[in-house]
């Protein structure tokens, strides 16, 4: 198969998770105003402090302008033409057990490979499944409770652990942080909450699966993870959405807090609907993810495999406040057709001997644009800090773009920062070499893309690595096997 055909195959691959589930939905009226925020607050049965907080965020948001510095282009978003709340009708009162959940919903998650029923559950993974604005079910809850680990929807956490939530919600990403974070703070409806107590190593992967189903809605989930002193948790996040002609907005906020000697590993496989091959439809993914290494010797590690969304605007970041703390960012971003991704990280070194590592692999195909944007900031007090960044881009075809925009700010003389980047295509020599050894072009491209991504794939927990590898092969379908 000629190279052009392979690229054509890649470009024309089908989105596998594009089905729509026929679930009766309950919506908030379209548009955004203080009444809508009160509506969400009431629906969620939250304590009064949350209404205060949401309204403050909303008022602040009204004073802000949508940011346009990223290398992405899209028509103006009409924020008044979106439903800010959508929930399955059957969720008017949250079902107490899986038996009460609409079987159509369970089937939806089964089709996505996330069985929620006890006997079929994924071994070793506790799942919080979120459909549109609400959490459907959380598995293995009781087992985790025995260890003192709280894993529930953020909504439950707000009601059951208000002190913890009040202390940490918005402490890493305040609503003043940026336009989309302010919007999220005002209208977020659900998401996951994790608290791992002192000295506890969470024995299983915690996972949230986000699914947008309803049309003309936005999804605004909020995740808060707190790892207390000496604890460890690995958290996974997956996302899909049905095929729709319209663009849908997803503006999530994730906050991670690692106390002394704690470690949080956060992995994402983002596969929101990317739009069709003409660039019609798809999710606008404007996400603020940030973690703080608050205590000494703490560690936060982000791993992301970004293959979906029409637009990705996402910079999972680490604030390295505790001395000797470590931040990591491993990313694969694959864009195709008319997808646009502007993604990267910020490593803010504040503490002594803090270390960070950035490995970013961008793969651009079709007419897409793929940008890495990253900040490494070494403050004056971050004595002995170290950073190493490697950002590689691979171009498949001559209609796409790959860009690298690092920002490096060093304010002391005892730190070492190194940044390297390369951009290239798969060389004809390598392809010829593979051909000569009897490997077809499509296999060769598959091999090379996989090898190119391996360093990042290796960071994923086993359960997800397989999924991610599959996702990359789907993207290269027709060229592999």
């Amino acid at each position: 198969m000629a190279e052009n055909d392979i690229l054509k195959e890649i470009t024309e691959r089908e989105y596998k998770y594009g089905f729509v589930s026929l679930i009766e939905q309950e919506y908030a009226p379209k548009g955004l105003n203080e009444d809508i925020i009160r509506f969400i607050w009431e629906k969620k049965k939250e304590p009064p402090f949350m209404l205060e907080w949401r309204l403050r965020a909303f008022r602040y948001w009204q004073s802000m302008k949508e940011p346009h510095w990223a290398k992405v282009e899209y028509p103006p978003i009409d924020y008044q033409d979106i439903h800010y709340y959508a929930a399955p009708k059957s969720f008017k009162d949250k079902p107490k057990s899986l038996e009460e959940v609409d079987p159509e919903i369970l089937r939806t998650f089964e089709k996505l490979g996330i069985p929620l029923r006890e006997r079929e559950r994924l071994a070793g993974v506790a799942v919080d499944a979120v459909l549109d604005s609400v959490s459907v079910a959380t598995t293995f809850k009781e087992k985790l409770e025995e260890l003192g680990i709280i894993f529930c929807s953020i909504n439950e956490a707000i009601r059951n652990y208000p002190d913890l939530v009040q202390k940490y919600l918005g402490s890493v990403v305040p609503y003043t942080d940026n336009f989309f974070a302010a919007l999220n703070s005002a209208v977020f409806s659900d998401g996951s909450f994790v608290y791992v107590p002192k000295g506890v190593r969470c024995p299983m992967e915690l996972s949230t699966y986000f699914r947008i189903n309803a049309s003309e809605t936005g999804q605004f989930e909020r995740t808060l993870i707190i790892a207390d002193e000496g604890s460890y948790v690995s958290y996974l996040e997956g996302c899909t959405a049905p095929i729709r002609d319209e663009n849908q907005l997803h503006a999530a906020v994730v906050e991670l807090i690692a106390l002394k000697d704690a470690e949080i590993k956060y992995s994402t496989v983002q596969n929101w609907y990317p739009g069709d091959k003409e660039g019609k439809g798809g999710i606008y993914n404007f996400v603020t993810k940030r973690g703080i290494c608050l205590g000494e010797n703490s560690k936060i590690s982000w791993t992301q495999v970004e293959t979906g969304s029409a637009i990705t605007w996402k910079y999972p970041s680490c604030i390295l406040k505790g001395d000797n703390s470590v931040g990591e960012f491993y990313s694969i971003a694959l864009t195709n057709n008319y997808q646009q991704a502007d993604t990267g990280t910020k490593m803010i070194h504040l503490g002594k001997n803090t270390r960070s590592r950035i490995v970013s692999k961008g793969i651009a195909a079709g007419f897409s644009n793929n940008s890495y944007r990253g900040l490494v900031q070494i403050s004056k007090k971050a004595v002995g800090a170290r950073n190493f960044s490697q950002c590689d881009s691979l171009l498949l075809g001559d209609k796409c773009g790959a860009h690298t925009f690092p920002y490096i700010e060093v304010n002391n003389s005892s730190s070492i920062v190194e940044h390297e980047a390369t951009t290239s295509k798969i060389s004809d020599e390598i392809l010829f070499y593979c051909n000569q050894r009897g490997i077809s072009k499509e296999d060769a491209i598959g091999l090379i893309v996989n090898g190119f991504s391996r360093e990042v794939l290796n960071q994923l927990p086993m359960e997800f690595a397989v999924e991610a590898q599959k996702l990359l092969s789907v993207s290269l379908e027709g060229s592999v096997g």
Binding site: W69, I378, K380, S393, L395, L396, G397, D398, K399, C400, G401, A402, H403, T404, F405, P406, Y407, I408, E409, V410, N411, N412, S413, S414, S415, I416, V417, E418, H419, E420, A421, T422, T423, S424, K425
Partner: protein, 445 residues
């Protein structure tokens, strides 16, 4: 009074009374453009790390005083050429002093006096090709421009004699300086340019100088930019280059002792098969600021660019490197390299570096790298374990850090001069003895 008000008043005073002249209406258009863009703030990505707010605190004037400068002074500053032949284009206090210019063969050399640039439509149209309409200082320079120099180097001209663009500022008040230069290098010609900036003023001078080069087919141009001992000078220089097929450009910048320097180096490959090297060395000590802002536009296939900037930052010195490589959709077979390395010697020194790649063609090989760090402690220990003092060991290593870029200067007098300047900065007084040894061993092998 802010900078915009300041220059508006100056513009009003100088030009509006003579509005009957065509050139002044042209100036007004440029000045309005400048005002529209305004003084860039750090919210502007191109000026993110370069804060110009301090300009609002200075009251600038337009100086008409043309101090007499004797040739002896110019000779003194150019003594490193050891009396060898040179061609000097002297921009003295904002105007070109003709008395220095020797008769030139193989050159078409014009001085366009105060404003007559605007009457030369041919030149204006050539100029417009270079225009970066996002840089407000381009418009400011045009609006206030005084004398302009136009140099045309004939086909096939090849001469070792360096051409000196000699910028000397010697004012007695806070002053603006704005000149335009245009160098057209015809096919197959080869020239060596040295641009020197010298400030003798004790007050602040804000110099915005534009120097445009058009490199025609197979021409070969080396431009050395020399900045040292320029206290009190706020310098924003804009070197713009357009390269035709087969042209080779080499830029070497030496920012050794500065107050505030922003080098805008823009290279445009307008035809295939061009080559450009951009090299730079910068030192910053207490309160010094150097910003190298490079843009290499690969608009055509089969071009090569290679960029290498090295900085040593001491005291409270600050440096910025902002390098962008842009590869257009059809610029296949592009090779672009970029490297920026920094050593910080003091805990109060700061570096902000932004190497950027923006790539739309797939059959390319582009890499960039940036580092910030301190001297390698293993190397330092190895050297001192041989009995060499720590200070000297540091100097040796710092010298070796920049030596690669020093060696890239082709003109031998200039190469020795910049080596000497760097050695002096590093207190390596016997550098020439060392290079003598190197030469001797070379010769005897």
């Amino acid at each position: 009074m802010g900078f915009i008000d300041n220059v508006s008043a100056l513009f009003e005073k100088k030009f509006s009374k003579q509005i009957c002249r065509d050139e002044d209406s042209e100036r007004l258009v440029f000045f309005e453009k400048f005002k529209e863009l305004g003084l860039p703030t750090i919210k502007n990505e191109d000026w993110k790390y370069t804060n110009l707010a301090f300009l609002n605190e200075i009251n600038f004037q337009l100086s008409s005083c043309t101090k007499a400068i004797d040739t002896g002074l110019v000779e003194k500053y150019l003594s490193f050429l050891n009396g060898n032949d040179k061609i000097v284009v002297p921009y003295i206090n904002n105007s070109i002093d003709e008395s220095f210019v020797k008769p030139l063969s193989s050159f078409d050399y014009k001085i366009l006096r105060n404003g007559s640039f605007f009457a030369n439509t041919k030149l204006i149209s050539k100029f417009s090709n270079f225009f970066d309409s996002s840089n407000p200082f381009n418009f400011l320079t045009l609006a206030f421009s005084t004398d302009s120099a136009y140099l045309n180097v004939n086909n096939g001209f090849e001469n070792e004699i360096p051409i000196i663009l000699f910028y000397l500022y010697d004012f007695e008040i806070n002053t603006l300086s704005n000149t335009l230069s245009f160098v057209e290098v015809e096919e197959d010609a080869k020239i060596n340019i040295i641009a020197i900036f010298i400030n003798r003023s004790r007050d602040k001078v804000f110099a915005n100088e534009i120097i445009n080069f058009h490199l025609k087919r197979n021409s070969n141009v080396e431009v050395n930019i020399l900045q040292f001992n320029i206290d009190n000078l706020v310098l924003i220089d804009n070197f713009n280059f357009i390269l035709e097929s087969g042209a080779t450009l080499k830029i070497n910048t030496f920012s050794l002792n500065n107050y505030f320097v922003r080098n805008n180096l823009n290279v445009l490959f307008n035809e295939p098969y061009g080559t450009a090297f951009l090299n730079g060395i910068y030192f910053t000590a207490d309160d010094e600021f150097v910003d190298n802002h490079t843009l290499v536009l690969h608009n055509q296939p089969n071009c090569i660019s290679d960029e290498n900037f090295r900085g040593i930052l001491d005291g409270t010195g600050r440096a910025v490197f902002n390098g962008k490589i842009y590869v257009a959709r059809d610029a296949q077979k592009t090779n672009a390299y970029q490297s920026n390395k920094n050593l910080l010697l003091s805990n109060d020194a700061r570096i902000n570096t932004r190497p950027q790649l923006e790539i739309y063609a797939d059959d390319v090989r582009c890499t960039h790298g940036a580092t910030a760090g301190y001297l390698d402690q293993e190397m330092l220990f190895y050297i001192v374990s041989r009995g060499i003092s720590k200070e000297k060991a540091k100097s040796l290593l710092l010298n070796s850090f920049v030596s690669e870029n020093l060696e890239k200067v082709e003109q031998p007098d200039l190469r020795n001069f910049v080596k000497e300047l760097v050695a002096k900065k590093l207190n390596l007084e016997d550098i020439f003895f060392c290079s003598a040894i190197d030469e001797l061993t070379n010769a005897s092998l």
